[in-house]
Subunit: 443 residues, 2 copies
C-alpha cells in the first residue's frame, strides 16, 4: 500500500528558485520548451521557455555530453548544467549545459515565429494558430494579467463580505429575454443559454446579502465588431442593503483600486513585458447621461441625434472629453434612460424617464453596466406589465420580492473588454483565449 | 462634478463589527431581514438575519419608538438600539430596539418555515422554493462551505504556479465526443456545449505549463440518480513536466490538505452550524483498479462480474473497504482499463490494457477523474485511428503535439459532489444552488 501525502519538492528548479537563491557556480537541473536556438558556430544559445520566463542555456561541444543536433526548436527537454551570471541574458543568468534529457520531440516546423519579441502576425493568423501563437511571451503575458484582474475581483469581494455563487447557464427563461439568446433542446424541452446571471444574483441577495460570480455568458448578437463577443466571461456582483446606487459605483471603484495594486505587486513582470502603464483609479468622475451628451455635443460641435441613446462614436468622444477635461481614464455615466434599461432597473423617483443606473466607460468603451434594481414586488409587477411581460416561468424570481428583498443593485463587467482596455488593445479578440464570434467556433 | 473614491465605511454595522469591538451599552445601527418574530407579550424577540449570522433584537413597547405591528417576518429593516450581553442569544449579544426604518415589506406569508433550525421539508419542496429555502441558516451554510472549496482550489494552485484560464463553452467539437452532448445552433452552424475543458487545458499546457479552470460543464446524460447533474461546476487542472501520473495525485492531495486547513480556519462557523467533521487528508492510500476489485470481491464475498468496469455498488464497497482496512475517507484507484478511458489517456507502457490514470473516491463516490495524457503526436494519432476517430475539427489540438508538448496530465473534480460528500449529504442536489437534471430546468 502506497500513500499520497501531498506535493513533494522536485529536483528540477523553476525560474524563481534559480533567481531567488544565490546559486551561481552550482550545477542544477531544470526543464522547459526550446523557445529558440541561436547557433553561433563555436557556441549555441538554447533559450528555454518556462512558465515564469525565459532561461538562456549555453551549448558548447566541449562541455556538453550531447550533440546539439539532438535538439531543435519546440522540443521539450530537461537539462543539467552550471549557473553563471551574464548580464546580457534574460534575468541576468545563463546555464552552461552539461547533460540533456529529451522529454518530447516536435515533429513539424513552427507555423509562426513565436520566439520573436513582437510577432508580426495578423490577428487572423494568431487566432488560426491560437495554441501556438499564445506561446509567444507577449501574447502569454496578456492572459496572465487577465488572471490578475479576475483574482483581484474575487479577492476584493471576499474581503467585502461577498459570497461566491455558481448559477446555471442552461435555463428556461432569461433575464432580459428577447432575440439575443442561443436556443437549445433540453431533453425535449426548449431551453436557452443565459446571457447574464442577473435573476440568480438577485435571488441570492435574499440569501447572502452580497454575492458575486465569474462565469461565461452567452449572447447570440449578430454584431461583428472589434468589441463584441458571442461568449465572454462576466464579472458580476450584486449587493443588498444599499442606500443608493452610488454605493455600487463606489464598490467598483474599490475593486479597480485593489486590482491595480495587485497587478503592480504581483504582475509587475507581465506589465513590464507589455509596457503597460496602469490607469489612475484614485478618483473616478461621475456625470449624468443627459449632461455628458450635452457637454460633448457642445465641445465637439456635434448635434445630439437621439437624446436616449449613446452611439459608439459618442462614447469615444465622451472618453476623449473625460481625458481632456478631467484627466480621467474611467468615467461613470449615470441615469440612463429607462426605456433603454431592462425591466428590473429602478427608475429614478425624481424623474422616471431615467433610471438609477450607470455604465463605466474606460477610455470611451463601456466595460460595465450596473445600477439599482427594483426590490418592491408591486413596482416590479407593474413595470413588467407595462412592458407587456408576464410572470410565467419567473415565479421563483418573483417570489423573492413577495417574501422580502432589501434595496439592492449590482453590475456586470466584461473581463475581456477590461483586459483589452488595460493593455491598450484595439480588438477584444486580442485578450480572449479562444474567441467566439460570428465566424469563429473553433478552436 | 462628483468623484468616486472607493468604498466608504457605513454607519450600519455588520455582525463581525458588532462582535469584534467592545460595544456593550452603546447605541448602534444595523440592518437585516426579519428571520422570525417571537412575541412573548411583554417583550418580543425580533431575530435579524444578516450575512454573517443571526442577531437577536428585543422589542419593548416602552423603549421602542415604533409599533411592533409595523414589522413582520421577511420584511427588511434598519434598526438602532443599545447593545447588551445575553448569553442565551445567538453570539451572546442582543440589541434593545429603539428606532426602526422599514427598508422593504414582504407581501405574502412564507411558503416554508425557513427560521426552523432544521427544516422538515423534502428536497423536492426545497428545490421548488429554492431562493426562499436557501434563506435557512443551515441551507445557506452549505454554499458558504462550497465557496471555501473553490477558493481553496484556486489559492492552492496559484501558489503552485498554475495560471487560471477561461475557455469557451460553445464549441464545434468536444473532448470525448459521443452522444452525451447538448447540441445547439450557432449562427446556422451545428455546435455543442463542452462537457469538459479537456482539450483546451491541454493546449494551454503548451503555453503556461500549469493551468486551471473553475467553470460549468454540460452533460446530456439521461441518468436520473442522486449523484448526477446535467450541468455542474468542474474544478479542472492540467500540469506539464510531470515525471509520472503520481504527481497529479500528489497535487490533488495537496489541494485537499490546503482546503481543509482553509475551511477549519475561515469557515469554522459554517462547519459548526452543519456539524461537519473534516476528513483526514494527511495520507491518501492508492491502490490499483484490478487489485481493489480483487480485495473487495474477496472480503465481501462478491464475484467480479466485469473485470473492466466498476459498478456504483462496487464503488461503495471500495469506500467501505478503505474505511475498514485503512481508516481512509479518500482512496485513489489507479490504472483504469484503457477501453474505459478517453483517447487522450496515456496507456501504461508496461501493460497497455490499463492506463496511467486514476479516480479519487470519497467515501465510495467518484469525485475526480484524472491521469497522464498522451503527449507524443504519433502515439495520439495512432490511438485516435485505432478508435475510428478522425482529426477533423481537431486540427489545432493536434498541432500542439506536432509542435512539442511536455509530458503532462491533470484532473477534473466535481464541485457539487465534493461538497456533498464533505457535508455528508445523500443527494448532489442538496449541494447545488439551482440543479439541472432531467426534470429541472427552473428556476
Amino acid at each position: 500500500m502506497e500513500f499520497m501525502t501531498g506535493v513533494e519538492k522536485k529536483e528540477v528548479l523553476e525560474l524563481s528558485e534559480i533567481l531567488a537563491d544565490n546559486m551561481m557556480g552550482e550545477t542544477i537541473k531544470t526543464n522547459g520548451a526550446i523557445h529558440t536556438i541561436r547557433d553561433m558556430g563555436i557556441v549555441a544559445f538554447v533559450i528555454l521557455r518556462k512558465r515564469e520566463g525565459l532561461l538562456q542555456c549555453v551549448y558548447e561541444e566541449s562541455s556538453a555530453a550531447f550533440d546539439l543536433k539532438e535538439i531543435k526548436e519546440a522540443d521539450t527537454i530537461e537539462v543539467a548544467g552550471v549557473l553563471e551570471k551574464n548580464e546580457k541574458a534574460p534575468n541576468g543568468v545563463e546555464l552552461r549545459m552539461k547533460e540533456m534529457r529529451l522529454l518530447s520531440k516536435a515533429t513539424e516546423a513552427m507555423p509562426l515565429q513565436i520566439s520573436k519579441w513582437k510577432m508580426k502576425t495578423s490577428l487572423e493568423a494568431k487566432l488560426n494558430y491560437r495554441p501556438i501563437s499564445l506561446r509567444n511571451i507577449r501574447e502569454r503575458a496578456k492572459f496572465k494579467i487577465q488572471e490578475g484582474i479576475v483574482r483581484g475581483f474575487r479577492d476584493f469581494l471576499y474581503k467585502e463580505g461577498f459570497t461566491e455563487i455558481h448559477t446555471p447557464k442552461i435555463g428556461a427563461k432569461s433575464a432580459e429575454g428577447g432575440s439575443n439568446l442561443f436556443k437549445l433542446e433540453y431533453f425535449h424541452r426548449p431551453a436557452i443559454l443565459q446571457q447574464s446571471p442577473q435573476l440568480y444574483k438577485q435571488m441570492m441577495v435574499g440569501v447572502f446579502d452580497r454575492v458575486f460570480e465569474t462565469a461565461p455568458v452567452f449572447r447570440a448578437e449578430k454584431h461583428n465588431t472589434k468589441r463584441h463577443l458571442n461568449e465572454y466571461t462576466s464579472l458580476d456582483f450584486e449587493m443588498g442593503y444599499i442606500d443608493g446606487f452610488e454605493e455600487i459605483m463606489a464598490m467598483e471603484t474599490g475593486f479597480l483600486q485593489y486590482t491595480m495594486a495587485l497587478l503592480k505587486e504581483e504582475y509587475a513582470k507581465e506589465l513590464k513585458i507589455l509596457g503597460v502603464e496602469l490607469p489612475n483609479t484614485e478618483k473616478i468622475p461621475t456625470v449624468r447621461f443627459d449632461e455628458i451628451k450635452r457637454l460633448v455635443s457642445e465641445k465637439y460641435d456635434r448635434p445630439i441625434k437621439n437624446p436616449f441613446d449613446l452611439e459608439p462614436e459618442e462614447e469615444m468622444l465622451i472618453g476623449q472629453y473625460a481625458k481632456e477635461e478631467w484627466d480621467a481614464d474611467f468615467l461613470f455615466v449615470t441615469h440612463y434612460p429607462s426605456k433603454k434599461r431592462p425591466f428590473y432597473a429602478m427608475d429614478d423617483p425624481k424623474d422616471s424617464v431615467y433610471t438609477l443606473s450607470f455604465d463605466l466607460l474606460y477610455d470611451g468603451l463601456e466595460i460595465t453596466t450596473g445600477g439599482q434594481r427594483i426590490h418592491d414586488y408591486q413596482m416590479l409587477a407593474d413595470k413588467m406589465e407595462s412592458r407587456g411581460m408576464t410572470e410565467e416561468g419567473m415565479e421563483q424570481y418573483m417570489s423573492c420580492f413577495k417574501h422580502g428583498m432589501p434595496p439592492h443593485g449590482g453590475l456586470g463587467i466584461g473581463m475581456e473588454r477590461l483586459t483589452m482596455k488595460l493593455l491598450g488593445e484595439e480588438n477584444v479578440r486580442e485578450t480572449t483565449l479562444f474567441p467566439r464570434d460570428l465566424s469563429r467556433l473553433e478552436p
